[in-house]
């Protein structure tokens, strides 16, 4: 995991980082949703918060937005309290849970929200950028899930935020809707906006983020560029029957990245499975050898599931 530890260095400027979490924890009763998370996100980064359901993505985002308070640690957005950053229109978000009023039209909802900010972009402009100008006069209750999500995106664009946060923005959309939604986001991010999005789709993180932060059980388990994350996914697993094997012994095999012993069966993950297999067959009494490729999805599961704890 050494390659993944540092993540991207914060851009060296006098400006505070877009997001600065220091030792942040959040508990819900006995459930420790977020545990001692420290991370910084610099201006201009597009960052994916990747993890399965229950990994602490939404809890983390809620604290960044000031929607909930951490039990421990500090959260700062552009050097200020999240609430102050929202009041100044510095951050905005598209949330899964943010509801819309059914009996206002798309344009009215946007006008309503725009009026709450000291400075807001024109309603027509944000509707256009979210791709919903054509349905401006439609009642929100008559809009599809994808259209409502685009409306939330339009609302998030109103203050022209420096930082845009998206919590599972494409949940419930079909493939085409997802693609065009991301095209809008991407187009928007090209203007230099900082974007943090939570997703449990590995492909989304891979396709749209410069940096991927993997969360599991409220802990950051990996943080790096998507290329680095992908390199984790390369390699294969060599499985063999080898009675009496010790983990230490297996780890010393050239090319073995991680090993696991379950009774007589050993699992060795390696970027060079050929070398591992050759060693096992020539230097040990291993039999029933099997080599399996690990896809992106497996890497993700390995990193984020309980099985991956040993890593």
């Amino acid at each position: 995991m050494t390659a993944m530890s540092a993540g991207r260095q914060l851009a060296a400027t006098d400006l505070p980082p877009a997001i600065d979490l220091r030792g942040v924890s959040k508990n819900f009763g006995d459930v420790r949703a977020v545990r001692d998370v420290t991370l910084g996100i610099a201006s201009g980064e597009i960052v994916a918060l990747l993890g399965p359901n229950g990994a602490g993505k939404t809890s983390t985002i809620d604290m960044i937005l000031g929607l909930s308070r951490p039990n421990a640690g500090d959260v700062e957005v552009y050097g200020m309290h999240p609430r102050q950053a929202i009041d100044r229109g510095l951050i905005s978000a598209v949330l899964q849970t943010g509801g819309l009023l059914k009996d206002l039209t798309v344009a009215e909802t946007t006008r309503y929200t725009a009026s709450l900010f000291a400075d807001a972009r024109p309603v027509d402009e944000v509707l256009k950028r979210a791709g919903i100008s054509a349905i401006a006069d439609r009642m929100v209750g008559k809009c599809s899930g994808g259209e409502q999500q685009r409306l939330r995106f339009a609302l998030a664009l109103l203050p022209d935020p420096e930082l845009l946060i998206l919590d599972e923005p494409t949940t419930g959309m079909d493939v085409e809707g997802r693609r065009s939604f991301w095209a809008s986001i991407r187009q928007d991010a090209e203007r230099g906006r900082t974007v943090l999005f939570a997703t449990h789709y590995l492909e989304e993180a891979d396709a749209y983020a410069d940096r991927v932060i993997l969360l599991r059980h409220g802990v950051v388990v990996a943080d790096g560029t998507s290329a680095e994350i992908k390199s984790l996914a390369s390699g294969r697993t060599v499985r063999a029957t080898l009675p009496g094997a010790s983990e230490a012994e297996l780890k010393s095999i050239d090319g073995a990245d991680s090993v696991e012993v379950r009774g007589d069966t050993v699992f060795i993950h390696s970027g060079n499975s050929d070398a591992v297999a050759r060693h096992l067959l020539s230097a040990t009494s291993a039999r029933d050898l099997e080599i399996t490729a690990r896809g992106l999805e497996d890497a993700f599961i390995a990193l984020t599931s309980d099985e991956g704890e040993a890593r």
């Binding site: 400027t13 819309l100 059914k102 009026s115 991010a189």
Partner: protein, 267 residues
């Protein structure tokens, strides 16, 4: 996207008055008027009730204090309408919390206090509309009459009803925070009908059995009902009426603030 960007934080301002503005108030009222059930209950129902009970030739023109009975009943129906309207307006928070809109608003500079104030103002505008609807239709029928020299009572009685309905805006907010449901008004509509009977708005209390009369005096519409009719009757104001209205207002408003605080602490 790794390029360092200069961001000027100094031109970023927070809105004045916590985000409260006329655009929002206008849209809130438009939204309320789009809700057919709200319009029927708050504006049409009280008017129809007045037309049925307030214009009956058998008693409408009998004198009663400084006005005739029809004017007395007009004020009763306006109070019922305003109380229903403000309750419905306040209870909007329930629907908006159930839908998650209040959470969406937390992403804007609108403060929680600003939100509750907007709901309160919207409820009071709807309450005023209800009073005006009943008074205007009543005036058109030509049946209610203030006696010579007491024409100003139209305004005084209307204002009393409107200001009094603040008690029920508080009730609406309290229940709205207590029960996050889209159907809270179905429940509150029923409660309001019972309270209106108990408060003596639909039927003179003195014709109730004694036990019910005693109980009725402790219900929330009783004190207000007596107070808003006091200018018409000219018989003075009893401390018990004021106490009833003030205590119920304190209870509802206190409950609303308590629930509101719990809500914002939890987010």
């Amino acid at each position: 996207m790794s390029a360092t960007q200069m961001i000027d934080l100094s031109d970023r301002r927070a809105p004045r008055r916590g985000g409260i503005n006329l655009t929002v108030l206008g849209l809130e009222i438009r939204k309320l008027l789009r809700n057919r059930r709200t319009v029927i209950f708050a504006l049409i129902f009280p008017v129809v009730l007045f037309l049925f009970v307030g214009t009956n030739k058998a008693y409408a023109n009998l004198p009663d204090g400084h006005s005739n009975v029809s004017a007395f009943l007009m004020v009763s129906m306006a109070l019922y309408g305003a109380a229903l309207a403000t309750t419905a307006g306040g209870a909007m928070v329930s629907i908006e919390r159930a839908l998650g809109w209040s959470r969406q608003l937390r992403l804007t500079p609108l403060s929680p206090t600003g939100y509750i104030l907007i709901k309160l103002m919207t409820a009071m505008v709807l309450g005023l509309s209800s009073v005006i609807a009943v008074f205007v239709v009543a005036k058109i029928t030509g049946v209610p009459a203030m006696f010579p020299g007491y024409g100003y009572l139209w305004i005084v009685a209307g204002l009393c009803v409107w200001v009094g309905s603040l008690v029920f805006a508080a009730l609406g907010l309290f229940v709205g925070y207590l029960l996050p449901s889209e159907n809270v008004m179905q429940f509150l509509g029923l409660v309001m009908a019972v309270l209106a009977f108990a408060g003596g708005l639909f039927y003179p209390l003195r014709q109730f059995p004694h036990v019910l009369q005693v109980i009725a005096k402790f219900t929330p519409l009783y004190g207000l009902n007596q107070l808003v009719h006091a200018p018409l009757l000219g018989g003075g104001v009893r401390l018990a009426w004021v106490a009833n209205a003030v205590i119920w207002f304190a209870l509802f408003a206190g409950g609303a603030v308590w629930q509101f605080r719990r809500d914002t602490a939890r987010v």
